[in-house]
Structures are given as structure tokens and as C-alpha cells.
Symmetry: C2
Subunit: 87 residues, 2 copies
């Protein structure tokens, strides 16, 4: 886990797309793609779902949203709830 990766994730969730995030951070889109991928691998958790419209946070990522102090909750979360059944 690198601090930069969290910045990339934050920007992506806030703007709603990797492209926008890359533009804002003045880096290339592939960097966002690769680093978020690596972060997900390291954590063993999928953080965002990709689509032609952009990216959306998974439920796991909504926790990060709080951590990262995102002002506005970024769109809608994919998974509505974690279903607190068996741990």
C-alpha cells in the first residue's frame, strides 16, 4: 500500500472516473488503472467497478471514502449492503 495509491483512489471516486482523476492529478490514466489494480490485489478486495460510464465504489470502498474524507459520497455504491450475517 502506498499513500499515492490512496490519493489516486480518492480522486477516482470523487470525480467518478479514472480519466478525470488522472487529469486532475496530472498523471496518465494507465497509472491510475495499474495502481488501483495493485492496491486491490494487495488488499485482496475489489474497490471499484469499471464501466463505460466510469467507475463506482464497491461497498468496501465506501469505508475508504470516510477515511479519505470525501466531501460528497461518490455517486451510488454498487453493493447496497454487506449483509452482516456470518463473519
Amino acid at each position: 500500500m502506498r499513500f499515492a495509491q490512496l490519493r489516486y483512489l480518492e480522486a477516482a471516486l470523487r470525480t467518478g472516473s479514472f480519466r478525470q482523476a488522472a487529469k486532475e492529478l496530472d498523471i496518465s490514466q494507465p497509472t491510475i488503472t495499474n495502481q488501483v489494480q495493485r492496491l486491490e490485489e494487495d488488499l485482496g478486495v475489489i474497490l471499484v467497478t469499471r464501466g463505460a460510464k466510469g467507475v463506482r465504489p464497491t461497498y468496501a470502498a465506501t469505508g475508504y471514502c470516510r477515511t479519505l474524507s470525501l466531501r460528497s459520497r461518490p455517486r451510488k455504491c454498487c453493493a447496497p449492503k454487506p449483509a452482516p450475517s456470518a463473519a
Copy 2:
């Protein structure tokens, strides 16, 4: 900031020396030295004081002790208190 750097710091504070930490993590001592140095640079805060007896956490690092869930507070903290005067 890298997650590995926090692991190095945690081991160093828990064991009380870079040597012990390196041994436990099965890496070289210079790696601990360099990575803790870099972490301190990045944060702009000195985290440990070095001595012939080993390392001791500064007051700043005692916060990290809690974060890192160190069971036992590692020895004694160097600075007794931050003196909550002007911020």
C-alpha cells in the same frame, strides 16, 4: 509512505532495535535504517532516537504505537510530553 515502512517501524519499536527488527523480518539492518529515515523525511517528523543501546520512540511515534497496535508501550518515550501550548 509505504505499508512496509510501518511494519519496519513497528518491529523496531517493539523489539527496541533495528537489528532485532531486521532479524525478525528477515531483511538487512540498512533497509530498516533507510526506510525509517525516508518515512521520517516524508512525514517531516523524527520518529525514533538512535543510540548505542538501540532505538527509542519519540513522542510522535507513541501515537504510531497505538495505531500499530503495539501491545506493550515500547520502553520509555524520549520526550515526556508535547507541551500543549501554541499550536
